[in-house]
Protein backbone atom coordinates (compact mmCIF):
# COMPACT_ATOMS: atom_id res chain seq x y z
CA UNK A 1 0.00 0.00 0.00
CA UNK A 2 1.32 3.42 -0.90
CA UNK A 3 1.81 5.93 1.92
CA UNK A 4 1.71 8.77 -0.60
CA UNK A 5 -0.89 11.42 0.08
CA UNK A 6 0.18 14.38 -2.10
CA UNK A 7 -1.09 17.74 -0.91
CA UNK A 8 -2.33 20.10 -3.63
CA UNK A 9 -2.13 23.79 -2.79
CA UNK A 10 -4.84 26.23 -3.85
CA UNK A 11 -4.29 28.76 -6.66
CA UNK A 12 -6.76 31.26 -5.14
CA UNK A 13 -5.39 34.78 -5.32
CA UNK A 14 -2.20 33.59 -7.04
CA UNK A 15 -1.70 36.92 -8.81
CA UNK A 16 -1.38 38.76 -5.49
CA UNK A 17 1.60 36.61 -4.44
CA UNK A 18 4.26 38.38 -6.47
CA UNK A 19 4.70 41.95 -7.79
CA UNK A 20 5.60 40.39 -11.15
CA UNK A 21 2.13 38.83 -11.35
CA UNK A 22 0.45 42.11 -10.37
CA UNK A 23 2.23 43.87 -13.24
CA UNK A 24 1.11 41.05 -15.54
CA UNK A 25 -2.52 41.48 -14.47
CA UNK A 26 -2.34 45.26 -15.04
CA UNK A 27 -0.92 44.56 -18.50
CA UNK A 28 -3.80 42.20 -19.26
CA UNK A 29 -6.34 44.67 -17.83
CA UNK A 30 -5.34 47.27 -20.46
CA UNK A 31 -7.38 45.04 -22.82
CA UNK A 32 -10.57 46.40 -21.20
CA UNK A 33 -9.54 49.92 -22.21
CA UNK A 34 -8.57 48.85 -25.74
CA UNK A 35 -12.03 47.28 -26.14
CA UNK A 36 -13.71 50.37 -24.64
CA UNK A 37 -11.91 52.65 -27.08
CA UNK A 38 -12.80 50.40 -30.03
CA UNK A 39 -16.43 50.60 -28.87
CA UNK A 40 -16.28 54.44 -28.83
CA UNK A 41 -14.93 54.48 -32.39
CA UNK A 42 -17.40 51.80 -33.55
CA UNK A 43 -20.27 53.87 -32.18
CA UNK A 44 -18.89 56.85 -34.10
CA UNK A 45 -18.84 54.83 -37.33
CA UNK A 46 -22.42 53.63 -36.72
CA UNK A 47 -23.59 57.21 -36.00
CA UNK A 48 -21.81 58.43 -39.12
CA UNK A 49 -23.74 55.86 -41.16
CA UNK A 50 -27.00 56.99 -39.51
CA UNK A 51 -26.59 60.58 -40.70
CA UNK A 52 -25.61 64.04 -39.59
CA UNK A 53 -27.82 64.56 -36.53
CA UNK A 54 -26.88 61.16 -35.07
CA UNK A 55 -23.20 61.89 -35.69
CA UNK A 56 -23.44 65.38 -34.13
CA UNK A 57 -24.83 63.82 -30.94
CA UNK A 58 -21.85 61.42 -30.79
CA UNK A 59 -19.48 64.36 -31.33
CA UNK A 60 -21.20 66.40 -28.60
CA UNK A 61 -20.88 63.46 -26.20
CA UNK A 62 -17.12 63.38 -26.87
CA UNK A 63 -16.92 67.01 -25.64
CA UNK A 64 -18.54 66.28 -22.26
CA UNK A 65 -16.25 66.43 -19.20
CA UNK A 66 -17.05 62.76 -18.50
CA UNK A 67 -15.82 61.77 -21.91
CA UNK A 68 -12.67 63.86 -21.59
CA UNK A 69 -11.88 62.31 -18.20
CA UNK A 70 -12.60 58.85 -19.59
CA UNK A 71 -10.25 59.45 -22.52
CA UNK A 72 -7.51 60.55 -20.13
CA UNK A 73 -7.86 57.16 -18.43
CA UNK A 74 -7.85 55.46 -21.85
CA UNK A 75 -4.72 57.39 -22.79
CA UNK A 76 -2.85 56.33 -19.64
CA UNK A 77 -3.95 52.71 -20.14
CA UNK A 78 -2.91 52.63 -23.77
CA UNK A 79 0.48 54.15 -22.99
CA UNK A 80 0.98 51.30 -20.49
CA UNK A 81 -0.17 48.86 -23.15
CA UNK A 82 2.42 50.22 -25.61
CA UNK A 83 5.18 50.03 -23.02
CA UNK A 84 4.29 46.51 -21.84
CA UNK A 85 3.70 45.26 -25.41
CA UNK A 86 7.21 46.10 -26.51
CA UNK A 87 8.59 44.64 -23.26
CA UNK A 88 7.20 41.25 -24.29
CA UNK A 89 8.00 41.46 -28.03
CA UNK A 90 11.62 40.23 -27.66
CA UNK A 91 10.21 37.05 -26.06
CA UNK A 92 8.16 36.30 -29.17
CA UNK A 93 11.02 36.55 -31.67
CA UNK A 94 13.75 34.13 -32.69
CA UNK A 95 17.14 35.48 -31.69
CA UNK A 96 18.55 37.93 -34.20
CA UNK A 97 22.26 38.33 -34.74
CA UNK A 98 23.75 41.56 -35.99
CA UNK A 99 27.40 41.37 -36.95
CA UNK A 100 27.76 38.04 -35.12
CA UNK A 101 26.39 39.45 -31.83
CA UNK A 102 22.98 38.54 -30.44
CA UNK A 103 20.58 41.45 -30.38
CA UNK A 104 19.74 42.28 -26.73
CA UNK A 105 16.05 42.33 -25.67
CA UNK A 106 16.40 45.94 -24.49
CA UNK A 107 17.46 46.97 -28.02
CA UNK A 108 14.37 45.31 -29.54
CA UNK A 109 12.09 46.91 -26.92
CA UNK A 110 13.71 50.31 -27.51
CA UNK A 111 13.33 49.99 -31.29
CA UNK A 112 9.63 49.18 -30.85
CA UNK A 113 9.04 52.17 -28.58
CA UNK A 114 10.89 54.50 -30.97
CA UNK A 115 8.82 53.11 -33.87
CA UNK A 116 5.59 53.75 -31.92
CA UNK A 117 6.66 57.32 -31.15
CA UNK A 118 7.65 57.89 -34.77
CA UNK A 119 4.41 56.52 -36.28
CA UNK A 120 2.34 58.51 -33.75
CA UNK A 121 4.21 61.70 -34.57
CA UNK A 122 3.74 61.16 -38.31
CA UNK A 123 0.02 60.65 -37.70
CA UNK A 124 -0.22 63.89 -35.71
CA UNK A 125 1.81 65.90 -38.24
CA UNK A 126 -0.33 64.54 -41.06
CA UNK A 127 -3.47 65.76 -39.29
CA UNK A 128 -1.88 69.14 -38.47
CA UNK A 129 -1.05 69.47 -42.16
CA UNK A 130 -4.59 68.51 -43.24
CA UNK A 131 -6.11 70.77 -40.59
CA UNK A 132 -4.17 73.86 -41.60
Amino acid sequence: MSARRPYIRSMDGWWRRDPFFIRYMIREATALLVVAYAAVLLLGAIRLAQGESAYERWLAALRSPWSLAFHLVLFAGLVYHTWSWFQIVPKTMPSISVGGKKLQPAVITGTGLVAAAFVSLVLLLLLLFIGS
Partner: protein
Protein backbone atom coordinates in the same frame (compact mmCIF):
# COMPACT_ATOMS: atom_id res chain seq x y z
CA UNK B 1 30.42 26.82 17.38
CA UNK B 2 32.33 30.09 17.49
CA UNK B 3 30.66 33.15 18.94
CA UNK B 4 30.91 35.28 15.77
CA UNK B 5 28.10 33.16 14.24
CA UNK B 6 24.88 35.00 13.59
CA UNK B 7 21.59 33.18 14.01
CA UNK B 8 18.85 33.35 11.40
CA UNK B 9 15.29 32.07 11.71
CA UNK B 10 14.41 29.64 8.91
CA UNK B 11 10.69 29.05 8.56
CA UNK B 12 10.01 25.79 6.74
CA UNK B 13 6.69 24.51 5.40
CA UNK B 14 6.31 21.02 6.85
CA UNK B 15 4.00 18.28 5.64
CA UNK B 16 4.14 14.72 6.86
CA UNK B 17 1.40 12.86 4.99
CA UNK B 18 0.99 10.19 7.68
CA UNK B 19 0.58 12.80 10.47
CA UNK B 20 -0.60 16.13 9.09
CA UNK B 21 -3.96 17.01 7.57
CA UNK B 22 -2.36 20.02 5.90
CA UNK B 23 1.05 21.75 5.74
CA UNK B 24 2.19 24.06 8.55
CA UNK B 25 5.19 26.32 9.18
CA UNK B 26 7.93 25.34 11.60
CA UNK B 27 10.67 27.77 12.56
CA UNK B 28 14.27 26.78 13.30
CA UNK B 29 17.05 28.99 14.70
CA UNK B 30 20.11 28.35 12.56
CA UNK B 31 23.61 29.71 13.23
CA UNK B 32 25.21 30.67 9.95
CA UNK B 33 28.35 32.11 8.36
CA UNK B 34 28.72 34.51 5.44
CA UNK B 35 29.20 31.79 2.82
CA UNK B 36 26.31 29.55 3.91
CA UNK B 37 23.55 28.87 1.37
CA UNK B 38 19.91 28.26 2.22
CA UNK B 39 20.56 24.58 1.37
CA UNK B 40 23.35 24.49 3.94
CA UNK B 41 20.92 26.01 6.41
CA UNK B 42 18.49 23.14 5.72
CA UNK B 43 21.33 20.62 6.07
CA UNK B 44 22.18 22.15 9.45
CA UNK B 45 18.57 21.71 10.54
CA UNK B 46 18.57 18.08 9.38
CA UNK B 47 21.92 17.24 11.00
CA UNK B 48 21.65 19.22 14.23
CA UNK B 49 18.04 20.15 14.99
CA UNK B 50 15.45 17.93 13.37
CA UNK B 51 16.30 14.75 11.45
CA UNK B 52 12.72 14.35 10.23
CA UNK B 53 12.92 17.28 7.78
CA UNK B 54 12.84 16.06 4.16
CA UNK B 55 14.23 17.86 1.12
CA UNK B 56 16.07 16.99 -2.11
CA UNK B 57 19.63 17.99 -2.85
CA UNK B 58 22.72 16.65 -4.49
CA UNK B 59 25.46 18.74 -6.09
CA UNK B 60 25.40 21.96 -3.97
CA UNK B 61 26.65 23.89 -7.03
CA UNK B 62 23.62 24.76 -9.17
CA UNK B 63 24.00 22.02 -11.73
CA UNK B 64 21.92 19.04 -10.54
CA UNK B 65 18.67 20.99 -10.28
CA UNK B 66 17.41 19.12 -7.19
CA UNK B 67 17.15 21.74 -4.44
CA UNK B 68 14.60 24.14 -5.93
CA UNK B 69 12.22 25.71 -3.41
CA UNK B 70 10.12 28.82 -2.89
CA UNK B 71 12.48 31.04 -0.91
CA UNK B 72 10.55 34.00 0.48
CA UNK B 73 7.95 33.23 -2.20
CA UNK B 74 10.36 33.20 -5.16
CA UNK B 75 11.40 29.98 -6.95
CA UNK B 76 15.15 29.58 -6.35
CA UNK B 77 17.82 26.94 -5.98
CA UNK B 78 18.64 26.49 -2.28
CA UNK B 79 22.33 26.12 -3.10
CA UNK B 80 22.37 29.31 -5.14
CA UNK B 81 20.77 31.55 -2.51
CA UNK B 82 22.56 32.85 0.56
CA UNK B 83 21.31 33.23 4.12
CA UNK B 84 23.25 36.50 4.52
CA UNK B 85 20.91 38.13 1.97
CA UNK B 86 17.91 37.57 4.26
CA UNK B 87 19.46 38.23 7.66
CA UNK B 88 18.44 39.89 10.01
CA UNK B 89 14.96 38.98 8.75
CA UNK B 90 13.77 35.41 8.81
CA UNK B 91 13.74 33.40 5.60
CA UNK B 92 10.74 31.34 4.57
CA UNK B 93 11.27 28.10 2.63
CA UNK B 94 8.36 26.30 0.95
CA UNK B 95 8.17 23.49 -1.60
CA UNK B 96 8.07 24.60 -5.26
CA UNK B 97 4.67 26.12 -6.05
CA UNK B 98 2.18 24.43 -8.41
CA UNK B 99 3.47 20.91 -7.66
CA UNK B 100 1.82 18.46 -5.25
CA UNK B 101 3.70 18.25 -1.94
CA UNK B 102 4.86 14.71 -1.19
CA UNK B 103 6.61 15.46 2.10
CA UNK B 104 8.00 18.71 3.55
CA UNK B 105 10.00 20.36 0.72
CA UNK B 106 9.77 17.33 -1.57
CA UNK B 107 7.33 17.76 -4.47
CA UNK B 108 6.02 15.20 -6.93
CA UNK B 109 7.97 15.41 -10.20
CA UNK B 110 6.05 12.59 -11.95
CA UNK B 111 4.09 14.98 -14.17
CA UNK B 112 7.22 16.85 -15.25
CA UNK B 113 9.18 13.66 -15.99
CA UNK B 114 6.25 12.23 -17.97
CA UNK B 115 6.08 15.35 -20.13
CA UNK B 116 9.84 15.33 -20.60
CA UNK B 117 9.68 11.79 -21.99
CA UNK B 118 6.90 12.68 -24.41
CA UNK B 119 8.86 15.37 -26.31
CA UNK B 120 11.63 12.95 -27.38
CA UNK B 121 14.37 14.93 -25.60
CA UNK B 122 17.16 13.57 -27.79
CA UNK B 123 18.38 14.04 -31.34
CA UNK B 124 16.62 11.84 -33.87
CA UNK B 125 19.05 11.68 -36.80
CA UNK B 126 17.82 12.28 -40.34
CA UNK B 127 19.49 9.06 -41.43
CA UNK B 128 21.47 6.52 -39.42
CA UNK B 129 25.20 6.70 -39.96
CA UNK B 130 27.92 4.19 -39.32
CA UNK B 131 30.84 5.06 -37.06
CA UNK B 132 33.09 5.16 -40.11
CA UNK B 133 31.05 7.97 -41.58
CA UNK B 134 32.05 10.21 -38.67
CA UNK B 135 30.23 12.81 -36.55
CA UNK B 136 27.13 14.84 -37.35
CA UNK B 137 28.72 18.22 -37.96
CA UNK B 138 27.26 21.56 -36.96
CA UNK B 139 28.41 25.11 -37.67
CA UNK B 140 28.93 27.63 -34.83
CA UNK B 141 25.85 29.52 -36.10
CA UNK B 142 23.73 26.35 -35.92
CA UNK B 143 25.04 25.67 -32.43
CA UNK B 144 24.20 29.23 -31.38
CA UNK B 145 20.51 28.61 -32.14
CA UNK B 146 20.25 25.81 -29.56
CA UNK B 147 23.03 26.50 -27.06
CA UNK B 148 21.04 28.67 -24.65
CA UNK B 149 18.09 26.24 -24.59
CA UNK B 150 20.36 23.26 -23.96
CA UNK B 151 21.46 24.71 -20.60
CA UNK B 152 18.30 23.51 -18.86
CA UNK B 153 18.99 21.44 -15.71
CA UNK B 154 15.34 20.33 -15.19
CA UNK B 155 15.13 22.14 -11.85
CA UNK B 156 11.43 22.99 -12.42
CA UNK B 157 11.77 26.55 -11.05
CA UNK B 158 10.05 27.81 -14.23
CA UNK B 159 7.03 25.61 -13.48
CA UNK B 160 6.79 27.08 -10.00
CA UNK B 161 6.87 30.52 -11.68
CA UNK B 162 4.19 29.70 -14.26
CA UNK B 163 0.61 30.48 -13.18
CA UNK B 164 -0.76 28.80 -16.31
CA UNK B 165 0.81 25.51 -15.18
CA UNK B 166 -0.59 26.07 -11.69
CA UNK B 167 -4.06 26.74 -13.08
CA UNK B 168 -4.00 23.88 -15.56
CA UNK B 169 -1.38 21.13 -15.05
CA UNK B 170 -2.21 19.71 -18.50
CA UNK B 171 -0.04 22.54 -19.93
CA UNK B 172 3.27 21.04 -21.08
CA UNK B 173 4.94 24.01 -19.41
CA UNK B 174 7.97 26.27 -19.92
CA UNK B 175 10.96 23.99 -19.21
CA UNK B 176 9.85 21.02 -21.30
CA UNK B 177 8.78 23.30 -24.18
CA UNK B 178 12.19 25.00 -24.04
CA UNK B 179 13.85 21.59 -24.35
CA UNK B 180 11.46 20.68 -27.14
CA UNK B 181 12.60 23.82 -28.94
CA UNK B 182 16.22 22.93 -28.27
CA UNK B 183 15.78 19.67 -30.25
CA UNK B 184 13.47 21.11 -32.92
CA UNK B 185 15.95 23.88 -33.63
CA UNK B 186 18.88 21.48 -33.89
CA UNK B 187 20.24 21.19 -37.43
CA UNK B 188 20.97 17.46 -36.89
CA UNK B 189 17.44 16.54 -35.80
CA UNK B 190 14.62 15.12 -37.91
CA UNK B 191 11.74 14.69 -35.44
CA UNK B 192 10.35 18.23 -35.70
CA UNK B 193 7.09 17.13 -37.32
CA UNK B 194 6.34 14.74 -34.41
CA UNK B 195 7.12 17.35 -31.79
CA UNK B 196 5.04 20.01 -33.57
CA UNK B 197 1.94 17.93 -32.79
CA UNK B 198 2.62 18.64 -29.10
CA UNK B 199 3.43 22.31 -29.79
CA UNK B 200 0.20 22.80 -31.77
CA UNK B 201 -2.11 21.52 -29.04
CA UNK B 202 -3.94 23.71 -26.54
CA UNK B 203 -1.75 22.05 -23.88
CA UNK B 204 1.28 22.94 -26.00
CA UNK B 205 2.30 26.55 -26.55
CA UNK B 206 -1.30 27.80 -26.62
CA UNK B 207 -1.80 27.61 -22.85
CA UNK B 208 0.93 30.23 -22.43
CA UNK B 209 -0.12 33.87 -21.94
CA UNK B 210 3.42 35.28 -22.02
CA UNK B 211 3.61 36.10 -18.32
CA UNK B 212 7.38 35.83 -18.69
CA UNK B 213 8.23 35.05 -15.04
CA UNK B 214 9.67 31.63 -16.05
CA UNK B 215 12.59 33.38 -17.74
CA UNK B 216 13.15 35.66 -14.74
CA UNK B 217 13.61 32.76 -12.31
CA UNK B 218 15.66 30.45 -14.55
CA UNK B 219 19.06 29.94 -12.85
CA UNK B 220 20.66 28.99 -16.17
CA UNK B 221 19.55 31.84 -18.46
CA UNK B 222 17.55 29.49 -20.68
CA UNK B 223 14.71 32.00 -21.35
CA UNK B 224 11.88 29.44 -21.67
CA UNK B 225 9.36 32.24 -22.39
CA UNK B 226 11.27 32.98 -25.58
CA UNK B 227 11.28 29.31 -26.59
CA UNK B 228 7.53 28.99 -25.98
CA UNK B 229 6.52 32.25 -27.64
CA UNK B 230 8.61 31.93 -30.76
CA UNK B 231 6.97 28.52 -31.16
CA UNK B 232 3.57 30.24 -31.22
CA UNK B 233 4.70 31.83 -34.47
CA UNK B 234 5.97 28.45 -35.69
CA UNK B 235 2.70 26.78 -34.69
CA UNK B 236 0.58 29.49 -36.34
CA UNK B 237 2.56 29.05 -39.58
CA UNK B 238 2.06 25.30 -39.30
CA UNK B 239 -1.68 25.86 -38.73
CA UNK B 240 -2.25 28.09 -41.77
CA UNK B 241 -0.05 25.89 -43.97
CA UNK B 242 -2.03 22.73 -43.12
CA UNK B 243 -5.02 24.29 -44.90
CA UNK B 244 -3.10 24.32 -48.14
CA UNK B 245 -3.78 21.36 -50.43
CA UNK B 246 -1.46 18.42 -49.80
CA UNK B 247 1.73 18.59 -51.82
CA UNK B 248 1.93 22.38 -51.95
CA UNK B 249 4.06 24.17 -49.38
CA UNK B 250 5.53 21.48 -47.17
Amino acid sequence: MNETHKVIAIEVLRYRPELDEKPFFQTYQVPFTEEMSVLQGLLYIKDELDGTLSFRWSCRMAICGSCGAMIDGVPMLGCHTFLRDYYPNKVRVEPLAHFPIERDLVVGADDFIGKLERIKPYIVPKEPRTLAEGEYLQTPAQLERILQFSSCINCMLCYAACPQYGLDPAFIGPGVLALLHRYNADSRDAARADRMQLVNAEEGVWSCTAVGYCSEVCPKGVDPANAVNQNKTASAADYFLHWLPKGSGK
